[in-house]
């Protein structure tokens, strides 16, 4: 059984995402996929979905979505966004985040701007049944693979939903509040002298509003990479902190360019990629250099937490009056795309 979800309005970057399509770097395609894989997995745990199920990624801002045809099981995870269910006769009910529910045909789910974190996810029971392209449903905006941003009028097909459980919830995870992002030195760290490297670690950075699924531009320090003499492009990795000609660091994300010639001073460790992706703009944070064994311990712990998620799902017990209707305020500032390095 499967229904459809109609997009009545959408924020500036609502896309279908799953775990992406790794393995295409040699053909010029970065792996893409959900900016916050933890939140993606949370939704799969809440709905009992398969690991490869896709969800709607809501970058900074949600939208309005109406159930068509049949009741739709759904779950909300990732950045905390105000959410309201509106019945067909106009009754409004605020919804808890990191929880699942059912949207009856004709009911509307309104999701506002991120109040905590940046990237929210709207999951459907059975996932989303858009056509996979090169093994994934993830929309890769820069590469133009898998479709584009969803806009008003779009209709999203639900996958086959064999599950029945709803009104379940997960405890909040602390990574949304992380303000110390752990890094290892990057492939070209030596292109920066000791003073610049120390300044990178000492600086209190913020993410500017120049951010998208490709990269996030930082403010707080302009770094001198004049020691980097070769401009030869090589393969860049998820979480690389690249310093382009203007000296303002860029953290490269899922839909990044696959190759680049600017030096990369550091790389965010895998366990902190979701925390960085969720870092709200204009919020001070620092990079913390760790040893490789610390990064591996963190990765091990991170994977253990991911695999324990299904066991942490609990029935949703709540007082509806404790959840205010927050949709009326807290609009995010406009976000601007990051300027690209050309070949």
């Amino acid at each position: 059984m499967s229904g459809r979800l109609e997009v009545l309005s959408a924020g500036p970057c609502v896309t279908v995402q799953d775990h992406g399509r790794p393995g295409l770097q040699r053909y010029g395609v970065a792996e893409g996929g959900a900016l916050d894989p933890f939140a993606l997995t949370e939704g799969q745990a809440l709905l009992g979905n398969a690991a490869d199920a896709a969800a709607l990624e809501l970058f900074g801002m949600g939208g309005s979505f109406r159930a068509l045809d049949r009741p739709l099981r759904f779950a909300l995870t990732g950045a905390v966004m105000p959410a309201v269910r509106q019945s067909t006769v106009g009754e409004r009910e605020s919804l808890a985040w990191r929880s699942s529910g059912v949207l009856q045909p004709g009911e509307v789910l309104e999701i506002g701007a991120a109040a905590e974190g940046l990237v929210g996810y709207l999951h459907l029971g059975g996932g989303i049944a858009t056509e996979p392209v090169l093994g994934s449903r993830a929309v890769h905006l820069r590469a133009g693979i898998g479709g584009g941003r969803l806009q008003a009028g779009a209709v999203v097909p639900q996958g086959e939903d064999a599950g029945r459980a709803d009104r379940l919830t997960l405890p909040q995870h602390s990574y949304l509040a992380l303000r110390e992002i752990r890094v290892l030195w990057g492939p070209q760290a030596e292109s920066f002298d000791a003073h610049e490297r120390q300044r990178f670690l000492d600086t209190s950075f913020t993410v500017s509003n120049r951010r998208d699924r490709m990269a996030a531009r930082l403010e707080g320090a302009v770094l001198d990479a004049s020691g980097h003499l070769t401009g030869l492009s090589d393969a860049v990795s998820l979480g690389d902190v690249q310093v382009p000609g203007d000296g303002a660091p860029l953290v490269l994300l899922a839909d990044r360019q696959p190759t680049g010639g600017y030096p990369r001073i550091a790389t965010v460790i895998a366990a902190d990629l979701a925390a960085f992706a969720q870092m709200p703009s204009a919020t001070p944070f620092r990079f913390k250099l760790v040893e490789r064994d610390q990064a591996l311990a963190a990765l091990k712990a991170w994977r253990a937490e991911l695999s324990s998620l299904p066991g942490e799902v609990r029935p949703l017990v709540r007082d509806p009056h404790s959840i205010p209707d927050l949709l009326s305020y807290n609009l995010i500032d406009g976000m601007i795309s990051v300027e690209e390095e050309l070949p």
Partner: protein
């Protein structure tokens, strides 16, 4: 001493906790690129458990791996052993590469920078077209965008600077030149290089299996065609035909 003069030319650079870069040099050089391609092919043949992906670029190979399944120490030990097998800078290029002859319409709207490029080279447009088309260029790497290939190298006098003002977009199939290389686009993208031709051949087509036709290490030359032929081949390409001739190199 430069990297290329050392006995063991490979250098390992970190690429996060799940990646490693094996670098064979830091210049655009056929021998270095050859070492990269040969080593990448060797790595793929070795099929080391824990490695999920390798990707050759102009002078290095990126290795993605699961550090909880394959420790960095063990990976480096495996790499040391592979690096020590031969002098990679003199290794023969990997087997199974393809040689492509790709149709291209030079000049006009397809190659708006052709006259300026001929001026910069100090040759006639006819000479430029002949020299560019007949040069056997290698796919040095794919990068920047899906199916986007860097081809090289062209004769020395093609060491042209990039444009000071990039063009906002060129169509798929565009062939542009700078720094003794050509770029061959497979999607509509911006470029900072001088565009001299366009090909109806689709290096990347999601409607086709395989979606990507050019591989790192493949060799490419171009066959100049006229506008009518371009239109015809473009139609055939849209219908799924591979409009370039190809042979497998042994």
């Amino acid at each position: 001493m430069s990297e290329t003069e050392r006995k063991s030319p490979a250098r390992y650079r970190p690429a996060g906790d799940c990646g490693l870069i094996v670098e064979f040099g830091d210049t655009l050089d056929e021998r270095i690129n050859n070492a990269v391609l040969a080593f990448d092919a060797r790595l793929r043949r070795a099929a080391i458990p824990g490695i999920s992906e390798t990707a050759p670029t102009i002078a290095s190979v990126l290795i993605r791996f699961d550090p909880l399944a394959l420790s960095l120490e063990r990976l480096e030990a495996e790499l040391n052993s592979l690096v020590g097998e031969t002098d990679w800078l003199s290794a023969p290029p990997p087997e199974g590469r393809k040689r492509w002859r790709i149709p291209a319409l030079y000049g006009g709207d397809a190659g708006p920078d052709l006259p300026e490029t001929a001026d910069l080279l100090g040759v006639s447009e006819e000479t430029l077209i002949q020299e560019h088309a007949e040069s056997l260029q290698r796919v040095l790497m794919l990068g920047f965008a899906p199916g986007f290939s860097y081809l090289g190298r062209l004769p020395e006098r093609w060491d042209l600077p990039r444009l000071t003002k990039p063009k906002p977009q060129v169509p798929a199939g565009s062939i542009s030149v700078a720094v003794r290389q050509s770029t061959f686009t497979a999607t509509t993208i911006p470029t900072g290089w001088r565009t001299i031709a366009c090909s109806p051949f689709l290096a990347f087509d999601l409607g086709r299996d395989p979606a990507f036709l050019l591989e790192p290490g493949d060799e490419v030359s171009f066959e100049p065609i006229d506008g009518d032929r371009f239109t015809l081949l473009q139609q055939r390409a849209a219908e799924g035909e591979t409009v370039a001739s190809v042979e497998v190199l042994s």
